[in-house]
Symmetry: none
């Protein structure tokens, strides 16, 4: 039995790992990957301490900082269930591997939200993608659509105007992202903006051949002639494994106190999987540090 299990290897889980290791807590880090959502980011300009750094380079920095400590890491581990024991917690993976600990930090982050329109699931990986950073270059010289109006959609569109022949940006609302990104986007010469349009259907059989959208005010339909569709409409929390342990918020997040407590003694949560007000790398890192220090205090009092 470990003193502490940290579930998740994004900025929150890695910050928690550093803080737990420095407190000499006997810690196990369980995660599907290292870096979490940072893996889908091209360049990071708002992590305090780095004026500009590629997402993968920032992850490498985080990872080398964790790797200097003797904490056990099981990467490629997909937790599906967390159960409460009398004196701790038990985590079970998809493949049935079980680990136990006295305290647990859930830092499992978020996954991209789907449009839930016909054709979307069928054509995922065949033109429909949720990661402009990962898949962008595949669509070099093609016509693509970017769906969404927030920062991640703006960043995806800014990446794609450099790569694609033409970018159709589609948002249900006016653009809500950072002014600095909106200004940059307005300079693009190969972009059409369709605001207050909803997506109706992904067209195509084997591969994406287009996207049907509809003006929410006039009801007018428009067919976008694209071969790639980048869906950037937000994220869903990865909180399924703990949903029997505590009530989630109505958006499926783990509700926490300002100190990362979940209300279940010994169970803490940090970062994007929680109802913390903003989803940012530096915020998740701060929350992960809080969670490790809270877990340390809990373990000291046992």
């Amino acid at each position: 039995m470990y003193d502490l299990i940290i579930l998740g290897g994004g900025p929150a889980g890695l910050a928690a790992s550093v803080y737990a290791a420095r407190k000499r807590i006997n810690t196990l880090l369980l995660s599907q990957d290292i870096g979490g959502q940072v893996n889908w980011t091209t360049g990071v300009e708002n992590y305090l301490g780095y004026q500009f750094i590629e997402g993968r380079d920032l992850i490498a920095k985080f990872q080398e900082q964790v790797d200097q400590f003797p904490i056990t890491q099981k990467i490629g581990y997909k937790a599906v269930k967390v159960q409460k024991l009398k004196d701790g917690f038990e985590v079970t993976s998809e493949s049935g591997d079980v680990y136990q600990s006295k305290a647990l930090i859930v830092a499992t982050g978020k996954r991209p939200r789907r449009l839930n329109i016909p054709g979307e699931v069928e054509l995922t990986g065949r033109g429909v993608t949720y990661c402009a950073v990962c898949d962008g270059p595949i669509f070099t010289g093609q016509r693509v659509a970017v769906i969404g109006g927030g920062n991640s959609a703006l960043e995806a569109a800014l990446d794609m105007v450099k790569i694609a022949e033409w970018v159709e940006m589609v948002s249900l609302t006016p653009l809500t992202g950072d002014a600095v990104l909106i200004e940059k986007l307005q300079q693009a010469k190969n972009l059409t903006l369709s605001l207050e349009y909803q997506t109706e259907r992904v067209l195509g059989t084997d591969l994406v051949e287009g996207l049907m959208i509809k003006n929410i005010k006039t009801g007018e339909f428009k067919k976008l002639d694209v071969t790639g569709i980048f869906i950037e409409i937000g994220l869903s929390p990865n909180a399924d494994a703990v949903k029997d342990l505590l009530p989630l918020t109505n958006t499926g997040e783990i509700p926490i106190s300002c100190g990362t407590e979940t209300g279940v003694p010994g169970l803490f949560a940090a970062g994007d999987v929680t109802n913390v007000p903003e989803k940012q790398i530096v915020i998740a890192a701060g929350e992960g540090a809080k969670a490790a220090l809270a877990a340390h205090r809990f373990l000291q009092r046992l």
Copy 2:
């Protein structure tokens, strides 16, 4: 009139500056210095992204990131009063300089309570430190003193018995912290407890070479042979300027919601000056980012 004034140039204020600037908010940064408490830290090993960095180098990184943006900075500005106007706030400095803004973020941090003994100021950063969490590992295998009898001193001593060769704990009073922490401390094999001793003088010229203490009952002097001195007699929040605007906690901190709201519309607070559960650079940076995004949302709704 500015849209936003950020009071304080430590990690919280600088993170807020980066986030505000990226939102193109017309921002004024007012601070006595750049870096705040990070200036008193020897080496930083727990800021996610830097395995080891000197405090001053980390501040330089933060500063260059802020300096790339066109936000106005007045450094050397000591705010003494914040007043509520009809549509915003007015800040007045010690020297009478007045600035106004629609929204305000207070990120003025804390100052350590000092022992006020000879050698203390001269050897700060040269063996004298006010942060065991930050600087503890630097003293691996050395003999150190921990000054104080409350929870932060006990936690510092508990951390240091695992790291240092020997820990000399010195308190003016009997130990006042949590029993569970005191019990744990009593199990340590490499700790001497000097209760009812007052500190007299830090010894050393370039680096700490010892600490002179005095028994307050017998008047007997004792020289402690240590190279590190952890002063953990508490921190004072720099919240005087806003004390007429809102009720402070009983330790003088600004009480905030998890989203950095103070309850006064347009007034946000972030970092160590608030009742956020832990005082750490990465946590303060995360809180500063939250505050800027909250202020942005407030300004957008005006």
